[in-house]
């Protein structure tokens, strides 16, 4: 634990950011190319390494395995000035250091409103009541006796990229886009639980409530509830992490993360929405004219280049270069991702690799020969409905700068000739 804590303070990333090739990246390259080393051969080969001679740990050294100590910098980070207190705050997924489409459980971003509830599963109950034929109580054991399903879904906080409405602010896609994660959920359809209770004909809305100290609540329309919502108890094959709602959470595919109520304990069926705090005071989108949109549930089509990015600069110099990133849409699958190197004058089709699943992150790559000149990198996603990810300027023109939520604008990374990468806005 302490090793990982210290890893957060590891200055290498800042050195890279600040000094570019004069920092860690240059040191690495120097080690490989310095004349002396070439004459003697690469010591990584010619020297016998400790791990090649001495025995390592046996089994059971880590009954629950952790990443290599060399990956200690790959951790969630928060932005301390954003909130008053860490018990009602958010941290961010280290997207710049991940690949593929699945987010490892330990680095899925966290957002709590009353800290992490530590719920004893044996003392946990899920109640369904309201406009139902019979109000019911389920134990965890009861829930696990319903037929289960497995689905990979992205969960994105509606406020992801919310700090960027007024312009480029945070240097790192972890901070600009890290309120998203993507895991495989195991759970039972919410529909099955409601069928067990029997929804009355005037039951049009569902209130979901958590067991935490915020007793988080959201109103969800019945069409969505019956469509694809899950009551999930596993993520990526293991029990939900406490910070993700152990022992059971709601999964609301493609819709804003705040609705995915964690530590789910109560479902009330009603004929109207409840207008709870998180759907009135918060998670409503103030427009320039003073009106505010409410019930803006769907997460729009969005993408970001995760590498290169400010925390993952180019350290190898010119030549073969891999651009990679993530794309997603609350409307379904991603049809196309385009990448530009010149700030949107010319676009190239990126290659989507790995599973293309509805309402799941998609991984894209664009490989090219970098000539060492400065780049303005952007990605642009198009979803299965043909929605094209808009520019930030288009969003500002339509909404103003005080919406906080649902900023899915195109992100620009400026790559300098030395490989250092910055968050910028361009003309």
């Amino acid at each position: 634990m302490s090793e990982r804590d210290q890893g957060v303070k590891n200055p290498s990333r800042r050195a890279l950011l600040r000094g570019g090739l004069a920092g860690g990246g240059a040191a690495l390259m120097a080690g490989l190319t310095a004349g002396k080393s070439i004459a003697a051969g690469d010591p990584a080969i010619t020297d016998i390494q400790d791990w090649n001679r001495y025995l390592g740990d046996g089994v059971d050294a880590a009954p629950y395995g952790m990443p290599s100590e060399f990956e200690a910098d790959v951790v969630r980070r928060n932005v301390a000035w954003l909130t008053a207190d860490t018990t009602s705050s958010i941290n961010f997924t280290p997207l710049h250091a991940l690949d593929g489409i699945i987010t490892p459980n330990g680095v899925c971003f966290e957002r709590h409103h009353g800290g992490v509830a530590e719920v004893d599963p044996m003392q946990h109950r899920l109640m369904i009541h309201g406009l139902v034929e019979q109000p019911l109580v389920f134990t965890m054991q009861d829930l696990m006796r319903f037929p289960r399903q497995n689905h990979a879904y992205f969960l994105e906080c509606a406020a992801n990229s919310g700090m960027e409405w007024r312009g480029a602010q945070l240097n790192g896609c972890q901070f600009t886009h890290g309120m998203v994660h993507n895991v495989v959920y195991t759970g039972v359809p919410l529909r099955a639980l409601l069928e067990e209770a029997g929804v009355k004909t005037d039951g049009k809305w569902l209130l979901a409530e958590g067991a935490d100290a915020a007793a988080m609540t959201r109103s969800i329309p019945m069409e969505k509830v019956l469509d694809d919502c899950l009551v999930a108890f596993k993520m990526n094959g293991e029990a939900l992490r406490p910070e993700q709602g152990y022992p059971v959470r709601l999964v609301v595919p493609g819709w804003e993360g705040n609705m995915w109520v964690k530590w789910l304990r109560r479902l009330e069926v009603g004929d109207k929405p409840w207008h709870q705090r998180e759907e009135t005071s918060k998670y409503t989108d103030l427009l320039a004219n003073g009106k505010a949109r409410r019930f803006t549930w769907v997460m729009d089509v969005k993408s970001v280049i995760t590498s290169p990015s400010p925390q993952a600069p180019i350290t190898h110099g010119k030549g073969r270069t891999v651009v990679t990133g993530l794309a997603w849409s609350g409307n379904g699958t991603i049809k196309d991702v385009d990448v530009t190197l010149d700030g949107g004058r010319n676009w190239h089709k990126a290659r989507i690799d790995g599973p293309s699943l509805s309402k799941s992150l998609h991984r894209f790559y664009y490989e090219f020969d970098w000539d060492g000149s400065e780049l303005f990198l952007q990605s642009r996603a198009i979803d299965e409905l043909g929605n094209v990810q808009p520019t930030k300027d288009a969003l500002r023109a339509a909404r103003g700068e005080n919406s906080i939520y649902h900023n899915n604008g195109i992100q620009t990374w400026y790559v300098r000739a030395d490989g250092v990468t910055e968050n910028v806005e361009i003309s």
Binding site: K9, M122, Q134, S281, S427
Partner: protein, 366 residues
């Protein structure tokens, strides 16, 4: 995480304060959980700083109100001047009902009802206090086989057979009792559904608010540090920096009652009576100039007559009407811009990224 490992605590010579027995019976690990109730305002351990309340390292043996760099209530300073020193006994008394011991303390916490919670949290705090009675940390005896079995054996699952079983298609779960639904069903809708019987005046609300809410929200709902501002901000929604408060932004009063009752005070949820919530809600109306009479009483009868000023300014999700969504689904690929891109803004200018020489940026998380 503990400042003094348990083994060190055991070995160190004790400076005995009275009330060692209270500490001796406490469980440090259980105390760490109890301390979560305190964490919104207090820090303890490495790097602990003052927050709403003072940091609690070495609180055992500390004269009450004695830290120079923390702004105590005058009452707390007086108590210290009068000889109050924090130890197991004095802290136990204080934590049971803070305002019984120091009526004008600014600590908004109502108190710990359970003796075991007090013992445990004191054991936890003592582990960060060099001056605590070292009887605190009992040697951890090896549990007997029976104890181990007790700890590891699952609590028997709820016996559905003891209740009326579900008659649904799966026959899973059991029928919820009316008492159980009543215990959990605390939500309130704008039409008044869910409102409990009760009442409270503005004047009563001011007292409760000052005691329970003002440490974070400020005496007049102006918000301290980054805690939410609750009042003011009328006519700012089209400004460059809107102030979204109950009076300026929230559409429904029911949300205020519902949220205060379910989640406030932060870290001590569900501790207010229904009447207190009515009173606080009435006071918030007063702070927002929606009622102007301090004698005004809000109750379950007149609640739905009150409308918040911004109710009509909420609209349905019409994002799909925005011009950029009507753009060609086959967007431009080549020669899309006449001029080369130029940088118009750089994040590094603000330099608010964590791990940098960090300043504070703008914006909210929600």
């Amino acid at each position: 995480m503990l400042k003094f490992p348990k083994s060190v605590l055991l070995a160190t010579a004790a400076i005995a304060f009275s009330g060692g027995s209270v500490l001796a019976s406490g469980d440090i690990d259980a105390g760490e959980k109890v301390f979560k109730k305190c964490m919104a305002c207090h820090m303890v351990g490495d790097g602990a700083k003052h927050r709403v309340g003072p940091e609690l390292n070495d609180v055992f043996g500390r004269v009450a109100g004695s830290l120079d760099d923390f702004k105590y209530s005058p009452a707390m300073k007086e108590a210290g001047a009068g000889g109050l020193v924090w130890g197991a006994d004095t802290l136990a008394t204080y934590l049971h009902k803070p305002k019984d011991m120091i009526p004008k303390t600014k600590m908004a916490f109502a108190g710990l009802k359970k003796e075991a919670d007090i013992e445990n949290v004191l054991a936890y705090l003592a582990s960060f206090s060099a001056g605590a009675d070292m009887d605190t940390a009992e040697p951890e005896s090896t549990p007997t086989a029976e104890e181990t079995a007790e700890q590891t054996a699952p609590t028997p699952a709820l016996q559905n057979a003891d209740y009326e079983p579900s008659t649904g298609p799966m026959g899973l779960g059991r029928v919820a009792l009316p008492e159980e639904i009543a215990a959990w069903d605390i939500d309130i809708r704008p039409d008044g559904m869910g409102l409990p019987a009760g009442k409270g005046t503005v004047a009563e609300g001011e007292v409760v608010f000052t005691e329970r809410c003002a440490t974070c929200h400020g005496d007049f709902g102006e918000g301290r540090d980054r805690w939410p501002v609750l009042a003011g901000g009328q006519d700012t929604l089209t400004d460059e920096r809107p102030e979204k408060t109950i009076g300026s932004y929230w559409p429904y009063l029911s949300t205020v009652y519902d949220y205060v009752r379910r989640a406030m005070p932060f870290g001590d949820a569900r501790s207010l009576t229904n009447d207190e919530v009515y009173a606080i809600t009435a006071y918030l109306l007063y702070l927002n100039d929606i009622v102007t009479d301090e004698a005004f009483e809000l109750n379950s009868e007149n609640f739905t007559d009150i409308h918040l000023p911004n109710e009509e300014n909420f609209i349905a999700d019409d994002r799909q009407e925005e011009p950029h969504w009507k753009a060609d689904a086959d967007p431009c690929m080549t020669d899309c811009k006449a001029e080369p891109a130029k940088i118009t803004m750089r994040a590094r200018v603000l330099d608010v990224t964590p791990d940098s020489d960090e300043g504070e940026g703008g914006g909210q998380v929600d």
